[in-house]
Symmetry: C2
Subunit: 568 residues, 2 copies
């Protein structure tokens, strides 16, 4: 492609709203343009990169035996009602009504739509296992779109859904996708961290996210330094056994604590470790009040709490409910009470000796609180967030935190959709059987962005060769028309050799051309200038590093092949 006839609007300056490298460089290199908040236009160069990721995903999904479909992006509300998600999906799902009054979701995901069509296609165990997928546009009413195409309102996803006769079958389908995903990201030149993840509102059991480590990642990951334990903070566990406080149990006593508001204030007031406090927080779980009790030095992980409660909707209780449940204003809740309220205790609570907690009375706390004696630990769960330094749940070594961008997610859905949407097939014995599902997603746009995030320097993008929009950046430095004609011949030679060549034939300065080449980040740069016209010398440079190599035209094709072979 001749740049003089191409659309390659590189920018010298960083766009003011681009705070992350990938967004900045995708704008500057002319891959994308913003249309409106959270909405991006792909220019030709960006679309080429996107298509290369799509092609790799398609090849690997096909190789894994999945079948490609194309679903409507507007999905009928009736389908969402069947699964019960029309009401539970929340404000991130765009909803629309047509002029006949029919309602639709602009689909953020396609469990219902695929389940409905598969339901019409299968009747027997012979039709399973089945893995169906599409690569299609999705929508999300993102309240704060940011980071360019990493978090936008409209995006392309590959979403796949497996249907199996039983859990063993599901596990095989799941493992096939685990392998395919590793292969996909590896072929894209993207180093991912597969972590254990929560299954969120989807329901289900096993779940793995493919994360790309990044300072701007919106997910927090806990990684063990010794073993292979890696988990999203939403899901991460940590080894327990910590005992807080000590000595002989003291008597329970009331302490007046006016104007002592926060845990830090209380720790100062009582001159003790924050972990000795039993922080008691009242929630509404699907509308019913519950109290969660955790050590004062720990944050509640609300996803863990919701999972423990099997709650669909979990929110902090309003003050009025707190007062009703505890008999005291907000700030003095605690587990030592005669009131009947469902209580869930974090695993660490039982290890507290002579703790401190709200007395369910205004301006009063209890000290000398001892679990078992002063209150009963009934329901006990892991309810708190793991943080850096916590011991790994597998090996006990300290874990570290890192931030990550999620590019893929696989999980075992279980029977949620096949049961609610009444999918059944006859098993080998001729009995009606409900298939079990898995679900497998890849964010295509953010995969491209994550590749840029992971592979760039201060001059521009450094594309892995499999995703690079072109293989070769041919920089022609010419003044006379006859030089341009010679360059055209070179361009022709490289194109005929099968390379995808971006050929800078512009009448521009070498400085501008080199800067644009660095910005565009194609794997191999070939420079043809004065040396070429005088002595036939061409220069080859790999964008991934290394020296400039001089070569004659006769050895050029092979030299480019070598250089490409050396690129990631």
């Amino acid at each position: 492609m001749r740049i003089s006839r191409y659309i390659l609007p590189t920018l010298k300056e960083d766009p003011s709203d681009a705070v992350v490298s990938s967004h900045r460089l995708m704008m500057r290199a002319g891959l994308i343009r913003k249309e409106s908040a959270g909405m991006y236009v792909y220019l030709p160069l960006g679309l080429r990169a996107l298509r290369k990721v799509i092609a790799i995903i398609k090849e690997e999904m096909d190789a894994a035996g999945a079948h490609e479909f194309l679903m409507p992006e507007m999905t009928s509300a009736d389908l969402w009602r069947e699964s019960g998600r029309w009401d539970s999906m929340g404000p991130e799902m765009f909803r629309i009504r047509d002029r006949n009054g029919l309602e639709y979701a602009l689909a953020p995901t396609h469990e219902e739509a695929f389940t409905a069509v598969v339901r019409s296609l299968i009747s027997s165990y012979r039709d399973l296992p089945l893995n169906v997928y599409q690569i299609n546009t999705k929508f999300r009413d993102e309240i704060r779109p940011r980071y360019g195409v990493i978090r936008s309102k409209e995006f392309i996803m590959k979403d796949a859904y497996s249907f199996d006769m039983d859990e063993k079958g599901l596990d095989e389908s799941y493992q096939a996708m685990r392998r395919a995903y590793r292969q996909i990201f590896q072929r894209c030149g993207l180093e991912t961290i597969p972590v254990q993840a929560d299954t969120g509102s989807m329901g289900g059991s096993d779940s793995e996210e493919f994360m790309v480590a990044s300072e701007v990642g919106e997910e927090v990951l806990l990684l063990c330094g010794s073993c292979d334990y890696k988990a999203n903070q939403e899901k991460a566990e940590f080894r327990r056994g910590d005992r807080k406080g000590g000595g002989a149990p003291e008597a329970l006593r009331e302490v007046s604590t006016p104007d002592v508001k926060t845990i830090a204030d209380l720790a100062a007031f009582f001159q003790c470790d924050e972990g000795l406090f039993l922080k008691s927080i009242v929630y509404l779980a699907d509308g019913a009040p519950v109290m969660a009790v955790v050590p004062g030095n720990r944050e509640i992980n609300e996803l863990k709490l919701a999972r423990a409660l099997k709650a669909t909707a979990l929110e902090l209780a309003p003050d009025s409910v707190v007062e009703e449940v505890t008999g005291a204003p907000v700030g003095f809740a605690g587990p030592v009470t005669d009131k009947k309220v469902r209580m869930l205790f974090d695993l660490a609570v039982k290890g507290v000796v002579n703790g401190i907690t709200g007395a369910n009375k205004k301006d009063l706390h209890y000290a000398g609180v001892n679990p078992g004696r002063d209150f009963t630990i009934g329901e006990e769960y892991d309810l708190t967030k793991a943080v850096a330094g916590d011991p790994c749940p597998k090996c006990g070594s300290p874990m570290r935190e890192t931030k990550g961008i999620e590019v893929g997610h696989i999980f075992k859905l279980g029977y949620k959709y096949t049961k609610s949407m009444k999918v059944s097939v006859l098993n080998e014995q001729g009995r009606e059987t409900t298939p079990i599902m898995g679900c497998y997603g890849i964010g295509v746009n953010r995969t491209v962005a994550a590749i840029v995030e992971q592979h760039h320097d201060d001059k521009g993008i450094i594309w892995p060769k499999a995703i690079a929009p072109f293989d070769v950046h041919l920089v022609g430095i010419w003044k006379e028309e006859q030089e341009l004609r010679a360059l055209e011949g070179l361009y022709d030679t490289l194109s005929k050799a099968g390379f995808e060549v971006l050929y800078d034939d512009r009448k521009a300065s070498p400085g501008i051309k080199f800067a644009d080449a660095d910005l565009a980040g194609l794997p191999v740069r070939v420079t043809a200038g004065k040396g070429y016209f005088q002595t036939g010398d061409l220069e080859i440079k790999c964008r991934w590093g290394g020296e400039v190599v001089k070569v004659k035209e006769s050895g050029l094709v092979e030299a480019i092949r070598d250089s490409l072979a050396g690129c990631p």
Copy 2:
């Protein structure tokens, strides 16, 4: 692809809601499934055909020098407001609001979005000409979706937009697209009729639609039997010169016509030709009343009337306005009046001698009406619909009518968007200049449907080879495992020879397999059964017709190549 592992749910019966052949066969052959009214799922076989059409379109657009983009499908209302179309687009455009209150259209077309991004990319005459396109999903709030994917609420379009410095440049861009479109449809094996068309609400001048003749087409076309004149009825002209009535002008006289309502009633009452009546109809054109006067034997073509009036909105005036304008109840309007109302006359009115018209008084008509004497013909236009039998405007031969499905449309938009959205570039003299646009669309889904509509028989689809989901349908007829193994070898041979093979390896009866092969309509069927296992004889049959040919395995690949070469 082995059918035993593929998703190919053929249907023996026609779906009850499928009234056209393409819909019926696309359902029966397992290409599509209905999700909800006007919403279709593409199954793997259908998606393959769709992709082949897309690939041809992309190749020809790229060859024509167009640049591929990918635009958001949700386009910001601000863009539509800039062009003025947020208000004028009407109820077919889906509109949606996000939770931050921003409004969007689910784009039915992308003039605004492309104009906005191109505006940011061009600054000089050197950046033009430019032709940008995408292949992407579009939405339309279709009040009566029908005919399967021919008229659905969500569909894939290729839409392209050219930007040129002047009309000469636009004409070159337009002609390049005319050539590309002919090439695209020819490669798809689709015979299209390019017809002159109205530019509708888009504004603009030249316009050509690519129609596929079909009984179920929703457009009416007028085709000359002698010359190359072809036009959509919306646009079609016809040669005038007809003179109605005759003799010496009679005196104008009032005739009482109580209970004579329709033109047919009047013709019976006056015992004369319907063409002698001057039918006078009152409209509101952008809110202002106008009277259109046409011969009684002709239908008004409202698109022609709107174009003559340069009106954006045209509707029949309500009774109250008719009464106000004419001074009489509805049914007695006529051009012989003292009232001031803008009147437009069809070209045929001036040829009427001793005509009849409403007297603008209840239950009264005028007879002996003569244009020029009794009223003045000021604004004279072609206002009526051409119909079968009318003389061709070019050569005068009678035209015939046919129905057609529109698969493509090219038109010269002019300055509508570049002016309203303030696009400008510097010309060679350094002066700000507004570029001129063209617009070029192809309906991808309905192109596939039109191919099926055009190429099928009572047994199923007959795919043109360029669009066929696979090249070869290998029908294996086996009983023993060792026969299946031999068939696998054959499948392997054909795949390695580079054919896309759909291999029927099922344990099913030959009758079922042949019926499915006829339904699927792949160009070449290879049957391997008893003859193959016993004497090595294979049978080749072309779905387009011709005899079954026997061939040995050694000659199979060549025989298939020959057979494919003989297919359209």
